[in-house]
Symmetry: C2
Subunit: 363 residues, 2 copies
Amino acid sequence: MMIPAAVNLGIEIRVLAETDGMSAGLAAFGVGDYRNREVVLAFAETVDVITFDHEHVPQEILRELVERGVAVHPGPDALLYAQDKLLMRQKLSELGLPVPDWARVENSTQLAEFLADHGGRAVVKTARGGYDGKGVRVVRHAHEADDWFLALAEDANGGALLVEELVEFKRELAQLVARRPSGDIVAWPVVETVQRDGVCAEVIAPAPHSSGRLSEVAESIAIAVAEGIGVTGVMAVELFETVDERLLINELAMRPHNSGHWSIDGSTTGQFEQHLRAVLDLPLGGTGARDAWSVMVNILGGPAEGSLMDRYPGALEAYPSVKVHNYGKDPRPGRKVGHVTAGGDDLDDVVYQARATAAFFQD
Amino acid sequence: MMIPAAVNLGIEIRVLAETDGMSAGLAAFGVGDYRNREVVLAFAETVDVITFDHEHVPQEILRELVERGVAVHPGPDALLYAQDKLLMRQKLSELGLPVPDWARVENSTQLAEFLADHGGRAVVKTARGGYDGKGVRVVRHAHEADDWFLALAEDANGGALLVEELVEFKRELAQLVARRPSGDIVAWPVVETVQRDGVCAEVIAPAPHSSGRLSEVAESIAIAVAEGIGVTGVMAVELFETVDERLLINELAMRPHNSGHWSIDGSTTGQFEQHLRAVLDLPLGGTGARDAWSVMVNILGGPAEGSLMDRYPGALEAYPSVKVHNYGKDPRPGRKVGHVTAGGDDLDDVVYQARATAAFFQD
């Protein structure tokens, strides 16, 4: 999704892709493994700025790039906090930002203590991805994380798990910001994100009932995060709005993020254009909403047979003004294969149109 | 500019380009000459639908493609009227559509007669491009077209010139429509186009004072043209609004057109997305304006030294909400190297912002 923004601005974009898919084919410079030092270093020699659509490039490679004088945005110091949730929690606590109660736990005894102090339930997370599925688990007994402790014990790097209080929240929000290396920062309106089965399903922009204090607090939190850890490019801060009306930081994403897809069609500057402007240290674009309401609905999985394209006649006929984004990926249960964005003055109608359009693409 | 729309919709696009420029590099299948039968036939075998960003592919090649069963949109029967201005005038007259007084003239005697009947001045046009510059000349004496008559006399295909009354117009308008092979047709708001030195400089959408009758007449004319000659894809009808408040058809363009660039940022469906939907016979998108006013200003020529990109810091800083489109072409006097689009509620402010942004890119 960065390619259209790059084409419009006349920015030459080169993609280092793992496989030669459709999006790679459009702008590919090379196919290779981002974990392979030689591959990344060779790629870096062909471009002015390196950026990412995920946070998994190893720190050692990022730091070598920086030492060689390559402009890397976001840089390794910032990316570290998106790569390691324990370091992230620690840093945000140091910055005095609102986070759920948390602890670093190295064994089930420590976890049991945390559970005892927090009503007998908690969320356990692996600090880094890769141990198990998505690495997030709600537990009521300390032994429910035994497999993860065992894996850590067997890991030469050692490590620990992150445990957090299970926050009672009214809803989840996300605050998207973009920051240039020179320090300028802009924020889009705070949005409401609706998760289903742990996956983002819908986003409403702006978040209903967010005018005034709520949006100001969300924005000030995200700006404090971005400045506190030196983020460059787009960052999404996922927030809990608690039942007692506090905002707590859930997760950080240091890249254009699903919660910001509405901005492609719904804001003066879409997040992918903004990300390019930010990482190139160009002046940032306006972040106003173009409609009273924008609603983004993910296309999850896609049709059981055939492709998304097969559903265009029905979907585009029924909802001619909803914007459809098709990632050109093969349908697979649960996979994000596209999204749709509707906009307008009547939130109920906008939600209806977005959901109904997305439904055409799912069985 | 078709590439971003194709990427968003997951449509695989392949470009047959004359030279291997930046836009070609993004999606190029091959570099080759569109006038070369073998090149075009080979290219056609790799795609489902053929469309164009100019009207110059020779009729013989287009007709052979159709005979071979290739979907060609717009088809040769329609494109003929964009390729040959004499045939276009004849066809529009047959359809009973409003055109300036015109005649086919084969020599200066016939031209002198037309001049005598039209106040001693007229516009002479070559039927097909290629004889001289842009092929349009205002004349007051019959001998002022002698070089063109001479060129026609030496041309084995023979032919004639088109002469038209010099229309006294208040302003120029353009009506953009899109039509599917199955017949559905949609129209954007009629726009005002401002020409300088024979080149489109600015477009205001919608055309000021166009609500009501004017927009209805413009739309009905363009629909009649599209249906009358079987256009598929996007078509722009350039119109004169005469001092006595009639609309007369000036030119036709059977492709996304400069007068429609505002729609990329200013309409629910941009003309390039719509063109793709139309030529693929998919349902057409909403054509409403997203702002009260959109103003598009062309970047003509570009900076005397360096590239458009060099001007981004100043332009984007001063006008963060104006959308900049950089075609990635080398600056050259008079060349259309990009455009900018501003949108908002106050026309004076929108015009100011668009002009001021474009000015950053020109010396």
